[in-house]
Amino acid sequence: MRIVFKITKRLLEEVRARLSRPHPFAFERVGFLLCRAGLLQDGGVVVLSHGLHDVEDGDYLDDSAAGATMGPHAIRKALQAAYNQGVSMFHVHLHLHSGRPRFSGIDQEETAKFVPDFWNVQPDLPHGAIVLSQDSAFGKCWIPGRKAPVDISSFAVVGIPMRRL
């Protein structure tokens, strides 16, 4: 199944800036992109991002095992935002290198646990997780009715100029 992820240049710049802010103790920041979805003619899905839901400073756990560990309040607030606004949620974090990023082992384990939880509040919508590098992106999308996530096929940055990550 083809999954296309779109983000405006302006929002991408904002995401990079907000996730790059230093945290009192976590090594990196994470957030959630609020998205809507559309069907494509070939049966695929286009995910359209609209805004960033920040994880608040106090909602990170002091855990040296990972760059950033979200506490239960972070997840609860993201679930609440998805429920209130009727949106898909895509977890997002940054890798500070160029080239195609990959999920770490911890990323894979953790996203597989919490992303499907968004179906408890928005069961009909796709949800997912993405990782951005300096010039590329990688992500997975959980589609309603499918247990295993699907790799996001392409990332489009909508702005002047148009770019594919």
């Binding site: 779109k6 809507r36 559309g38 286009v46 609209h50």
Partner: protein
């Protein structure tokens, strides 16, 4: 000689558009809604540029009154009643036989799902209300929308030609912000519904506005300079034979568009998981 990835076009003369420009253009999917006086020029130029995939939409057939401006149309098309979209497809295919071309001879609203995976939508329709709908559809799926409009007005005893080309980028100013669409114009148009009559159209302003629209597209996808697109609204004065950036732009530059700010203006308005399963099953069939 370099060739496009899936094209027989020799594109050396436009290699200044970038090392990968042939591949970028070949992998682009564009829609032209309204393949008449303006849209037929755009189709022809994008065919020459090496754009790989076209969705050409127009419910009309060629009539004798179209021959003064419809690129590629012939007397034979008039007698056969050839669809305008088929004429545009023929023009593109004659230049680039490898182009993937989808011809739709219905109203665009009937095949709107074909627009969703396009990289750019060119709107070449006359009615302001329809342009508003088309822009809204483009914004739903974060697709840049390029709008061209041309008019001939009688002022006193003389005629005046004017027009504009606008780029409506998701996240930036829309046609309403730019003053191309407003409630007063929509109201006037609604009152004239069914009595519009034929609008005067001529080939050279159509061609000029279409060329500017194609220029927007090229600057979006294969910019040849690092200073991108100095203007997103160009105005044509037919008497002075000039094109100028709109003087509204400085006022729009720092303003966020309030008309598509809500997240509900994105995506399918009636998304359901059942719809997703049905769509995936239909696509497999």
């Amino acid at each position: 000689m370099k060739e496009g990835v899936n094209s027989k076009l020799k594109l050396d003369c436009q290699s200044f558009l970038g090392e990968n420009s042939a591949a970028v253009l070949d992998s682009s999917r564009i829609a032209i809604v309204g393949v008449g006086g303006g849209g037929s020029h755009i189709a022809q130029q994008l065919g020459h540029l090496g754009v790989g995939e076209f969705v050409l939409i127009d419910p009309d057939v060629v009539e004798d009154t179209n021959l003064n401006r419809l690129v590629g149309a012939t007397q034979r098309d008039v007698s056969k009643g050839t669809a305008k979209a088929s004429v545009a497809a023929r023009v593109v295919a004659s230049v680039n036989p490898c182009a993937r071309i989808w011809v739709e001879t219905t109203e665009w609203q009937m095949c709107a799902i074909a627009l969703r995976s396009c990289d750019v939508i060119f709107g070449c329709v006359d009615a302001i209300g329809e342009r508003q709908q088309l822009e809204t559809a483009a914004r739903r799926y974060l697709i840049p929308y390029v709008d061209i409009g041309m008019d001939v007005h009688r002022i006193g005893g003389e005629f005046s030609i004017g027009g504009q080309v606008a780029l409506s980028m998701p996240g930036s100013s829309c046609l309403r912000c730019m003053g191309i669409i407003d409630d007063h114009v929509l109201e006037l148009e609604a009152k004239q519904y069914g009595a519009a009559g034929s609008r005067p159209q001529v080939v050279w302003p159509n061609g000029l506005l279409a060329s500017l629209a194609v220029g927007f597209f090229v600057q979006l996808f294969t910019p040849w300079r690092t200073t991108y697109l100095p203007s997103v609204l160009l105005e044509f004065d037919g008497e002075a034979q000039t094109v100028s950036p709109s003087n509204k732009l400085p006022y729009l530059a720092e303003r966020n568009c309030p008309h598509f700010a809500d997240i509900s203006s994105l995506g399918d308005p009636f998304w359901t998981a059942q719809g997703l399963r049905r769509s995936a099953a239909t696509a497999k069939d």
